[in-house]
C-alpha cells in the first residue's frame, strides 16, 4: 500500500497523470452491472482508449485545443454526492415552466429534481436503464463509432448519467430542464453518460444548464450524450453553459436521426468555465431529415470555448442549417470547426453553414475552420465565415443619438447575436440568453 501511494505521487509529476491514474484504476477493474453485453462494450472501449490515449495538438481535431494542462492534473474519480444541497439559482431561467432534473457531478438527485409522473415520459438515472430494450439497442451504437478518445473512456468507465425516453407520439407540454451542477471540495473528474430516445412522432424540448457551486474545487467533466430521434420525432435541445471558472468540460453529443425527424440544437456559452469543448455530431441517417445547429459563444477572461460540429448527410433530401457566432473578449479564445459531409448519393441535399466572429479582446484569438466535404453533385451547399469587430460607423451613429459607447457596444453585440437568438423557439430561453449576452460584456 505504501509503495503504491509513493508511485502515485510520482505519477502526478508527469504530464499525463490522469491517463496513468485511469489505467491504474480501471484496467481489469471496469465498473460492471453484471450484464455481459455491457461489460463487453466497456472492455472494448477501454482497449480503444488505451491505444489512443489523450489527444495532443498534433491531431487535427485538437489542433487549437490543448487538453494536456487539464489531464496533467490529479483528480479524484469518486463522484459520491457531496454533503449539503447545492444552490440552483444560477441555472434558473425566469419565466420558464419546466420539469426539473438535477445531476450533481453527473449523479441524478431525486431530492432536487421535480418528481412527477408524466405519461409516456421515462426519466431515470442511466444505471437503472441498463435492462431496457432501447438501451441495449442504442447505447454506444453511434458515439463510439467516432474516434474521440474521451467517448471511449466514457463508455468504458461511466457510472452515472441520465436516461430519457419519450414514448411514441408523446408531445411533452413542458420542457425538461436538466441542471448539471459541479460541486466538489476536491479536484474531481466526472464522467456522465446520457441517452435520450425520442419515440416516433414524439416531441420534446430539453434544456441543459451547466453550473458550478460557489467555492467548488477544480473539476473536469467528460460527458457523452447519445440522442436518437425515431421517425417523425422532433427535439429542441438547448445547451446553456454558465458554469464557473473552476469547471472544465468535454461534451460529446451524438445525434442519430431517422426519417422525417427534426433536431434543433442551440448551444450557448458564456463567460465562466475555463475550458469548454463541445463535439456535436448529427448523423442524418435517413432521407427527409432536418437539423438546425445554432451557437453563441461569448467568451471573456482566459476562457477557451471550442465547438466542433459535424453534420453528416448520409441520405438524399435532407436539410441542415448551421449558424455559429463567437464573440471573444480579453485574452479568451474561440474555436469553431464545422464539418459538413454530403455522402455519395445524398442528392438534393441542402446544407447551409455560417460562422461569424467578433474579435474584441486585445489579446483574444479566433480559430475557425468551416469545412465542406461533398461527394454528390445535385446539392446546394454553402458556407461563409467572417471575422471582424465593432463597426465604427454604426458605433458613431448610435453615439450621435446620445447612446453611450458602452451601451452602443451592447446594442451592437446584441444585434450581432440576433441572427442566432431570434431562432430560439422558447421565448423564455431566448430572453434569458439575450440577457446573458448583455451581462457577459
Amino acid at each position: 500500500m505504501l509503495d503504491e501511494a509513493a508511485t502515485d505521487t510520482m505519477i502526478t509529476q508527469i504530464s499525463d497523470s490522469l491517463y496513468t491514474h485511469l489505467i491504474k484504476t480501471y484496467d481489469g477493474n471496469l465498473p460492471s452491472a453484471g450484464l455481459h453485453s455491457l461489460d463487453e462494450i466497456r472492455t472494448q472501449a477501454f482497449e480503444r482508449f488505451k491505444s489512443m490515449g489523450f489527444p495532443t495538438v498534433k491531431q487535427e481535431d485538437w489542433k487549437y485545443t490543448n487538453v494536456q494542462p487539464l489531464i496533467g492534473q490529479r483528480y479524484s474519480l469518486d463522484t459520491e454526492m457531496p454533503s449539503g444541497t447545492p444552490a440552483l439559482d444560477k441555472a434558473l431561467i425566469p419565466k420558464l415552466d419546466a420539469h426539473r432534473i438535477v445531476l450533481v457531478n453527473g449523479r441524478y438527485s431525486s431530492e432536487l429534481s421535480t418528481d412527477e409522473e408524466i405519461p409516456g415520459l421515462q426519466i431515470m438515472p442511466i444505471e437503472q436503464a441498463f435492462d431496457r430494450l432501447c438501451f441495449a439497442k442504442y447505447f454506444a451504437a453511434y458515439a463510439d463509432k467516432t474516434d474521440n478518445p474521451f467517448v471511449a473512456l466514457n463508455t468504458a468507465s461511466f457510472t452515472s448519467g441520465l436516461f430519457i425516453e419519450v414514448g411514441k407520439s408523446r408531445q411533452l407540454q413542458k420542457p425538461i430542464h436538466i441542471i448539471h451542477v459541479a460541486a466538489t471540495d476536491k479536484p474531481l473528474f466526472t464522467q456522465t453518460r446520457n441517452l435520450y430516445v425520442m419515440g416516433a412522432f414524439a416531441e420534446a424540448e430539453i434544456i441543459e444548464s451547466f453550473i458550478t457551486e460557489d467555492g467548488a474545487e477544480h473539476n473536469l467533466n467528460n460527458q457523452v450524450s447519445e440522442i436518437v430521434l425515431r421517425e417523425n420525432a422532433k427535439l429542441q435541445h438547448y445547451y446553456l453553459q454558465v458554469a464557473g471558472p473552476q469547471s472544465n468540460y468535454l461534451n460529446h453529443t451524438e445525434v442519430h436521426q431517422e426519417k422525417h425527424s427534426l433536431y434543433n440544437n442551440y448551444n450557448c456559452s458564456f463567460p465562466g468555465a475555463a475550458f469548454v469543448r463541445n463535439n456535436i455530431n448529427v448523423q442524418m441517417g435517413d432521407s427527409e431529415v432536418e437539423s438546425h445547429l445554432y451557437g453563441i459563444a461569448l467568451t471573456a477572461g482566459n476562457q477557451l470555448v471550442d465547438n466542433h460540429t459535424i453534420v453528416d448527410h448520409i441520405k438524399p433530401h435532407c436539410e441542415s442549417y448551421e449558424w455559429y457566432k463567437n464573440i471573444t473578449q480579453d485574452t479568451s479564445t474561440a474555436v469553431f470547426n464545422g464539418k459538413i459531409f454530403v455522402r455519395l448519393d445524398a442528392q438534393k441535399t441542402n446544407a447551409f453553414q455560417q460562422n461569424n466572429n467578433m474579435l474584441i479582446g486585445e489579446k483574444s484569438a479566433i480559430y475557425t475552420k468551416p469545412q465542406l466535404e461533398i461527394f454528390a453533385d445535385d446539392v446546394k451547399c454553402s458556407h461563409g465565415c467572417t471575422i471582424g469587430q465593432f463597426d465604427n460607423e454604426a458605433l458613431f451613429y448610435l453615439r450621435a443619438r446620445g447612446i453611450s459607447e458602452a451601451q452602443a457596444r451592447v446594442l451592437l453585440v446584441h444585434a450581432f447575436a440576433f441572427d442566432v437568438t431570434s431562432r430560439f423557439l422558447n421565448a423564455a430561453v431566448r430572453e434569458y440568453v439575450e440577457h446573458l449576452v448583455e451581462e457577459g460584456l
Binding site: 458613431f396 443619438r401 446620445g402 451601451q407 451592437l412 446584441h414 444585434a415 441572427d419
Partner: protein
C-alpha cells in the same frame, strides 16, 4: 445658441474647413449651400464629433460651453442632432429598441427618469404620423433594407422623437422624390420652435422652397463667403456656383 469661430478642420491631414464663422440663434433656420467639396458635410460631421475629422483651430460653443470637448454621445445629449446624409443600416438592432435606449440615456443625462412604456409608445405613434413613417418600419431593424426615402424619413422621425436643440440636416433632400421631400419638409416645419434651431446643409435650392430659411450662407473652399436671406438661394440657383467661384477667386 451655436457660435462657431474661425473653425479649421481637416480629414487625413487635408484641410477642409479654413476659418468658418457662424452664429445661430434659437428659433432660426440657417441654410448652408455650396458646391461639391466646399466642406458642407464636414461641418455637420465636425459638429457631431466624428472621429476622422480633426479640428485644428477655432472654437464651437453651444449655449456658451465648449462643444468640441464633448464625446459624440454627450453632444447628442446636449441637444445636437445630425440627420445623416447616409444613415447606416444596423441589422439586428430594432428601431424601437434603439430609440428607447437613446431617449432613456438622454433623459438620464438630464437627470430624468426613463419614460413610461406607455408614454413612449404614445409618443412614437404621434411622431410617426408627423413624418408619415410606416409603423411597420419602426419595428424593423434600424434602416435595414429601407429605401433611400425611408432612411431619410427615419432620420426626421428620430429628430421628432429626440427633440434636439440644434438639428443639422446633412443633404437630407438628396435622393428624395418630390413627395418624400414634402413629407420631410412638413415634419421639419412642424418641429420648428422658438427654443430650437436648424442648420440645413444642401446643394440645391429645392429644399428651401419647402423649408424657408431665415438665413442662407454660401460655403466655398472651407469658408462662408457670402450670407444673406432666402433670395441669395434663388440667385445662386439662377447664376450657379461658378458665379460665386469667380467672384471669390477674383
Amino acid at each position: 445658441m451655436l457660435s462657431i469661430k474661425n473653425l479649421h478642420a481637416s480629414v487625413e491631414d487635408k484641410a477642409i474647413l479654413k476659418g468658418l464663422d457662424l452664429e445661430v440663434k434659437a428659433g432660426e433656420v440657417h441654410a448652408i449651400m455650396g458646391p461639391n467639396g466646399s466642406g458642407k458635410s464636414t461641418l455637420g460631421n465636425v459638429l457631431a464629433g466624428r472621429e476622422a475629422y480633426e479640428v485644428t483651430e477655432g472654437e464651437v460653443l453651444l449655449d456658451g460651453s465648449d462643444l468640441l470637448a464633448l464625446s459624440p454621445e454627450d453632444r447628442a445629449r446636449e441637444g445636437v442632432f445630425l440627420a445623416f446624409q447616409y444613415p447606416i443600416e444596423i441589422p439586428g438592432v430594432s428601431n424601437i429598441n434603439f430609440l428607447k435606449t437613446a431617449l432613456s440615456e438622454i433623459r438620464a443625462y438630464k437627470g430624468l427618469p426613463p419614460m413610461e412604456a406607455r408614454d413612449f409608445l404614445k409618443k412614437v405613434k404621434e411622431k410617426q404620423q408627423l413624418v408619415e413613417f410606416d409603423a411597420k418600419l419602426a419595428n424593423r431593424s434600424l434602416n435595414e433594407g429601407f429605401s433611400g426615402g425611408e432612411k431619410k424619413r427615419n432620420e426626421i422621425f428620430q429628430l421628432a422623437m429626440l427633440e434636439p436643440k440644434l438639428a443639422i440636416l446633412d443633404e437630407t433632400d438628396s435622393g428624395l422624390d418630390i413627395d418624400a421631400l414634402r413629407i420631410v419638409a412638413r415634419g421639419v416645419n412642424q418641429l420648428r420652435a422658438d427654443n430650437n434651431a436648424f442648420i440645413l446643409i444642401t446643394h440645391y435650392q429645392r429644399l428651401l422652397e419647402y423649408i424657408v430659411p431665415d438665413f442662407v450662407h454660401v460655403l466655398y473652399n472651407g469658408r462662408i463667403v457670402r450670407s444673406g436671406t432666402k433670395e441669395l438661394a434663388l440667385e445662386l440657383e439662377e447664376k450657379g456656383y461658378d458665379w460665386i467661384k469667380e467672384t471669390v477667386d477674383a
